[in-house]
């Protein structure tokens, strides 16, 4: 979905929170890209909220809170950062990859999916000039297996977003010199309700406010 509006101050890794007619809670969706007044989000239909988003019409106004949460810190990248996105964790990697490429970094991207039919944005990352590896669990496209099968350990730093089992495996294989975007069921999405607080080595942290992007070293599983 592409939306026109104020995209100033939006960082890669942040999310927006969308109000949906007929539902009480907003739906948090990660930012895929934001520049020059155009916001791109990619979502997967998983429930009533995302299902009703598919009925939004072109030109319709959407009530949305933006600039939510922390973003990825580009200053930590080093010269050859690795970006790892799994499934619906792929979109936030795009804006990050674009900004890292604009900063002249050699960006390696690993995109993990279950099967060929789910693969998206492979070409878009290539167009940015990234070194892209796609993995599929069933081997129907790219490297067979999980994102960890495509690691070479050569990265200066990593950034990741994806399902919890993938993140756990990545931390085990690649260490904690990186940043992880976490996902939790949220109430407000802006830090007021304490609905999404996780435990870290530095105490309780709200995924919506101190996160969703965390230093991998403070996470506890």
């Amino acid at each position: 979905m592409r939306l026109a509006g104020d995209t100033n101050e939006i960082l890669p890794g942040q999310f927006v929170n969308i109000r949906i007619e007929g539902l009480f809670l907003r739906r948090p969706i990660s930012v895929c890209d934001a520049q020059e007044g155009l916001l791109t989000i990619i979502y997967k239909v998983v429930g009533v909220g995302t299902e009703s988003m598919t009925h939004l019409l072109a030109g319709q106004k959407v009530d949305m809170l933006t600039v939510l949460g922390t973003g990825y810190n580009i200053a930590n990248a080093g010269e050859n950062p690795l970006l790892v996105g799994g499934g619906v964790g792929v979109p936030p990697m795009y804006m990050l990859a674009r900004q890292l490429r604009e900063a002249g970094k050699a960006v390696r991207v690993i995109l993990g999916f279950n099967t060929k039919d789910e693969v998206f944005y492979e070409e878009e990352f290539r167009t940015l000039g990234c070194d892209v590896t796609v993995t599929t669990v069933d081997g129907s496209h790219g490297v067979k297996g999980f994102v960890t099968n495509a690691l070479d350990g050569q990265q200066s730093y990593y950034y990741t977003c994806g399902p919890l089992p993938m993140i756990k495996a990545l931390l085990q294989a690649a260490g904690t010199h990186g940043e992880v975007s976490m996902e939790e069921r949220m109430g407000c999405g802006f830090g007021a309700c304490m609905g999404c607080t996780i435990q870290t080595t530095q105490g309780p942290k709200r995924v919506c406010k101190e996160g969703p992007v965390f230093d991998a070293a403070i996470l506890q599983f």
Binding site: F24, R185, F190, G191, A192, C193, G195, T197
Partner: protein, 312 residues
């Protein structure tokens, strides 16, 4: 009379001798200590702020998920009183709130034993807070919280014990998860409470039919949002008719119309809860809308309508 003075008279209310510029108070647990909202608007427009429920010791709260949606009408939460503990609140959160907010500060306190309530309230007694809101109604913690709010004897015991250690006005926050809220309200009144706040959330549940499991990790949680407004209104009205204490009405309020209705039922002030979480501007929008709505309804001063449906 200047316009400003006229506006003051129009919206101003009093709680136990404390003047609030208007009756609007964000409810505890939906507003943190105001920081997130202060980024969006000047929170000095608020009559008061009831800060995040504070306990003697720091608490992480319940496991995740803590939140479940209930259609268009509300949500269930089982946060479980996550807070940094009263000492941290006194040292950090309260001074920060005080530095950018001049209105009425309502300190919301929870405990797991009478001793807990007493110690926490005694510590806050020396601090720049205006009202102690004693939560005997949290549905999300075991062996405490709501247990004190479900029997008149226990509610009276907490009330009397807290009153003995503080000079601040003590408002008991009541649970709707009881057979007879009036009996509990009367017990608090008899034990010396200065006021009441009602209602806390309604114990509820949602099930994920695909996973065949409760949505909330803690199984049950507190249902809040516009869906509970009629229930809250009825209970406020019952209590207003049975006691002479000032009432802070709470439960599902999400518009200026709801505020007027809550006051007509008998509330002197009105807390806004879950609505803050879906529209962070709602408290300010309600305050801005009240004068126009009052003109439409030919209400000169809000104090004129408190409990008006109870007058014979």
């Amino acid at each position: 009379m200047s316009d400003k003075k006229a506006m003051n008279d129009k919206l101003q209310i009093q709680l136990s001798g404390i003047t609030l510029a208007n009756p609007i108070i964000p409810a505890s647990g939906t507003y943190g200590f105001g920081d997130e909202f202060a980024e969006l608007y000047d929170i000095n427009c608020l009559g008061g702020i009831s800060f995040k429920g504070t306990t003697r010791e720091a608490r992480y709260g319940n496991p995740l998920p803590r939140i479940a949606e209930c259609g268009n009408y509300g949500m269930i939460n089982a946060v479980g009183l996550q807070n940094p503990g009263v000492e941290h609140v006194i040292a950090h959160e309260l001074p920060r709130l005080k530095s950018h907010y001049n209105g009425c500060i309502v300190a919301n306190v929870s405990g797991f034993s009478v001793q807990d309530y007493v110690e926490t309230c005694a510590m806050l007694d020396k601090e720049p807070i205006d009202i102690l809101e004693v939560n005997i109604s949290c549905p999300n913690v075991h062996n405490g919280g709501m247990a004190f709010g479900t029997s008149p004897e226990a509610a009276a015991e907490v009330t009397a014990a807290v009153k003995a250690v503080t000079t601040k006005p003590v408002y008991m926050k009541l649970s709707p998860n009881v057979t007879d809220i009036v009996a509990i309200a009367k017990a608090c009144e008899a034990a010396g409470a200065d006021g009441l706040c009602l209602i806390n959330t309604v114990l509820g549940m949602r099930i994920d039919i695909r996973r065949r499991l409760p949505v909330i990790a803690n199984r049950y949680g507190g249902y809040s949002g516009s869906g509970i407004f009629p229930l809250a209104l009825r209970m406020v009205n019952q209590v207003a008719r049975a006691t002479s204490l000032p009432i802070i009405g709470c439960g599902g309020v999400s518009s200026a119309e709801d505020v007027i209705e809550m006051m007509m039922a008998g509330a002197t002030a009105v807390e806004i809860g879950a609505a803050n979480l879906t529209n962070p501007m709602v408290a300010k929008e309600i305050i801005d809308r009240l004068p126009t709505l009052m003109d439409e309804l030919k209400i000169e001063k809000l104090t004129d309508i408190i409990g008006i449906v109870n007058h014979e």
